[in-house]
């Protein structure tokens, strides 16, 4: 089932959608690596053999299909490139810097949530992520961020009974 990618089905509205040739190769290799790690994990499942009723059978089947698909994916890409085709769809990683920064902000936020408390951490998240997403109006972001996280905090902890971290304020 080879698949020449029809130009009309590209879902991206970016007209200058250029394809990265390296991207799908990396994706395929990462898929294979993940598959191999999971294969090792299957042998870590305490069970004997691969009986169909045991806990190893289904994960093993899925990992096997996964590895097969990874190989087919790679093959499709390589074949397309060899026929000097465009390769498989791969949008370019424009603005990779801000994106990485946003992921970093999120991870820091997750770790800051408990020690700092919901209100402070979330206000900071809002301000930082709005800025990373392109906002240049710091004053507005600060006001919205601080107010919104306070409202959310009070609404969820006081009215809806969801527990959120109090943190340093002990609010």
């Amino acid at each position: 089932m080879s698949e020449p990618e029809p130009a009309g089905t590209a879902t991206d509205d970016d007209p200058a959608r250029r394809r990265s040739r390296l991207g799908p190769l990396l994706v395929g290799l990462v898929m294979i690596a993940v598959g191999l790690v999971l294969l090792w994990q299957i042998f870590e499942i305490p069970a004997e053999g691969f009986g169909m009723q045991g806990p190893r059978f289904f994960p093993a089947v899925v990992v096997a299909i996964w590895l097969g698909l990874a190989v087919i994916y790679l093959a499709q890409h390589v074949v397309s490139l060899r026929r000097s085709g465009p390769g498989l769809p791969a949008a370019r990683f424009d603005r990779a810097g801000p994106m990485g920064l946003l992921v970093l902000i999120l991870v820091v936020y997750a770790f800051a949530l408990d020690p700092l408390g919901y209100w402070i951490a979330t206000s900071l998240l809002f301000i930082a992520s709005a800025r990373t997403l392109g906002s240049r109006r710091l004053r507005r972001d600060v006001i919205i961020g601080v107010a919104l996280s306070l409202v959310v905090y009070l609404l969820f902890t006081r009215a809806l009974g969801v527990r959120l971290p109090e943190g340093v304020l002990g609010l």
Partner: protein
């Protein structure tokens, strides 16, 4: 009658209030570009964590769903950025109508058509649910196995542009679903010896991570952080009824009816929810409808049909969800998670064990539909205001609410990190055109499929022939095979006729 009892429950002032809150919140979140009904419900799940009674919660969810869907069509029409694949068809003609100064007509035909289709399909649901429930009681493990396989295969085969990428997405979901303690043997699987993973990855994390976090990262990289071109609403015209002229009523009504009659059956069939029927409706109206010469310039049928199909398919999706416990779309998957919060297990026994809840849900669909129309057409200016919120603020807000939704599932930081990681994976999937919906269904149905498979073998004593001896099982398995081949039929036919084809595979949109 049971339905009357359902109405009696729903029509209490408190429950009407919950329906109102649901519709308002749903529209508010659903109108945000890139946010469809599934994420909207997932984001709003925490609101109901401390409800004692499931009935008001589900009344609210019905409102949220309809609100989110309507919000999505508003965004499609005015901004041409469909929040989910089911409104892609609406966006095509709807935005053209808006651009030519007929935004109000487009919005009205979407809203009234949704109400119309919602009412018809809910009646059908009420009629179908009970016999289906009775039939479902006779289903055995092998039938469930076959049904789940059918659901997985058809969603994967029909969504997206590549079978390989669709299947890879499905397998990824199943692998995530296997994380945790095995349901039957209690052995830890894919946990890397970390007790933090013993409980597995909650599907709510997957949905919020894949759709909300992944979408935000995607928007950032694609540089869509500037607000789009918002088509202004034209001033109200005199004449007509509910923003539609007599002529527009006359043209919309048959399209609504056709859309609804496509939407409901395709919702019942495990075909992945609304994508397929909305595109079928769009194609039908374009090729056969009375307004076909207007297509491309803003034909009202192109909005009326798909919107009706979209709404009707939701009631259809509820049939397998309520009677078999089988989610066939991302939204149904979230609803299943919502049922779990209340320790409810939809399935064959569900209809007989909690009839009050089932009929209240069905009745609340009626109420949600009516309320939506009453609320949304008059309040359209409010929703337009939401669309004018600067994008950075909007997406920062989405990140805030996404994290809140994730955190309140378990209150553990590890879950937040897992959901972020899933978001990054989903972003990469979007970059390389892997569909998202199969992964979400894989998380739920992968382990369930395994469970039914092992149960069937346990009963048969390890004999695989149980899967080919029961006629119902065999019939469903054959359907699954058919679903896998179907998208390639045009290509095969063309090959047989020695003609080159433009497209390799029929593909429908993705993302929700």
């Amino acid at each position: 009658m049971e339905l009357a009892g359902g109405f009696a429950t729903v029509l209490s002032p408190a429950n009407l209030l919950f329906a109102l809150i649901g519709v308002t919140l749903g529209t508010l979140v659903g109108v945000l570009p890139g946010i469809g009904p599934a994420v909207t419900i997932a984001l709003l799940l925490p609101v109901t964590y401390n409800f004692d009674d499931p009935i008001p919660a589900f009344i609210m969810f019905a409102g949220i769903y309809y609100g989110a869907m309507y919000g999505g069509s508003t965004t499609s029409i005015l901004l041409n950025t469909p929040g989910e694949s089911a409104s892609v068809a609406t966006a095509i003609e709807g935005h053209k109508m808006a651009a030519s100064g007929r935004a109000r007509s487009a919005l009205a035909t979407a809203a009234i058509g949704s109400l119309f289709a919602g009412l018809i399909s809910t009646v059908l649901l009420a009629f179908v649910a009970e016999p289906m429930g009775r039939l479902a009681v006779t289903f055995q493990a092998t039938d469930y196995f076959a049904l789940m396989l059918l659901a997985l295969v058809s969603v994967t085969a029909l969504v997206g542009t590549s079978l390989v990428r669709g299947l890879a997405s499905l397998m990824l979901g199943a692998l995530i679903g296997f994380i945790g303690l095995d349901q039957l043997s209690g052995q830890a699987r894919f946990t890397f010896d970390s007790p933090l993973l013993f409980n597995g990855v909650d599907v709510v994390l997957v949905i919020i991570g894949m759709f909300a976090i992944g979408e935000t990262l995607f928007v950032l990289v694609r540089g869509r952080t500037q607000p789009g071109e918002l088509t202004p609403l034209e001033p109200k015209r005199g004449g007509g009824f509910l923003w539609l002229s007599r002529e527009e009523w006359r043209r919309s009504a048959p399209a609504w009816l056709r859309g609804a009659s496509l939407g409901f059956p395709f919702g019942v069939l495990p075909s992945g929810g609304a994508e397929l029927p909305t595109f079928m409706s769009y194609t039908y109206e374009k090729k056969q409808g009375k307004g076909k010469h207007e297509f491309g310039k803003g034909a009202i049928e192109g909005v009326a049909g798909p919107e009706a199909a979209n709404n009707a398919s939701f009631s259809g999706v509820l049939v397998p969800l309520l009677t078999l416990g089988l989610p066939t779309s991302a939204t149904a998957a979230v609803l299943l998670a919502a049922f779990k919060i209340f320790n409810l297990q939809p399935g064959p026994q569900f209809m007989s064990e909690s009839p009050d809840l089932v009929w209240a849900i069905i009745a609340s669909l009626f109420i949600g539909n009516v309320m939506l129309l009453a609320l949304n057409l008059p309040m359209i200016r409010v929703w337009v205001k939401v669309l004018e919120i600067p994008r950075p603020v909007l997406y920062a807000g989405i990140l805030l609410f996404a994290t809140l939704g994730i955190y309140s599932v378990s209150g553990q930081i590890i879950d937040v990190l897992i959901a972020y990681a899933i978001g990054v994976v989903a972003f990469v999937m979007r970059q390389f055109d892997f569909p998202i919906a199969p992964a979400v269904l894989g998380v739920i149905l992968g382990p369930e499929l395994e469970l039914q498979f092992r149960r069937a073998l346990e009963i048969s004593g390890g004999d695989l022939s149980v899967f080919v001896t029961r006629p119902l099982t065999v019939a469903i398995l054959l359907l699954a095979l058919l679903a896998l081949v179907l998208p390639y039929v045009p290509k095969i036919v063309a090959r047989l006729r020695h003609r080159p084809t433009a497209t390799a595979k029929i593909g429908f949109g993705d993302e929700d």
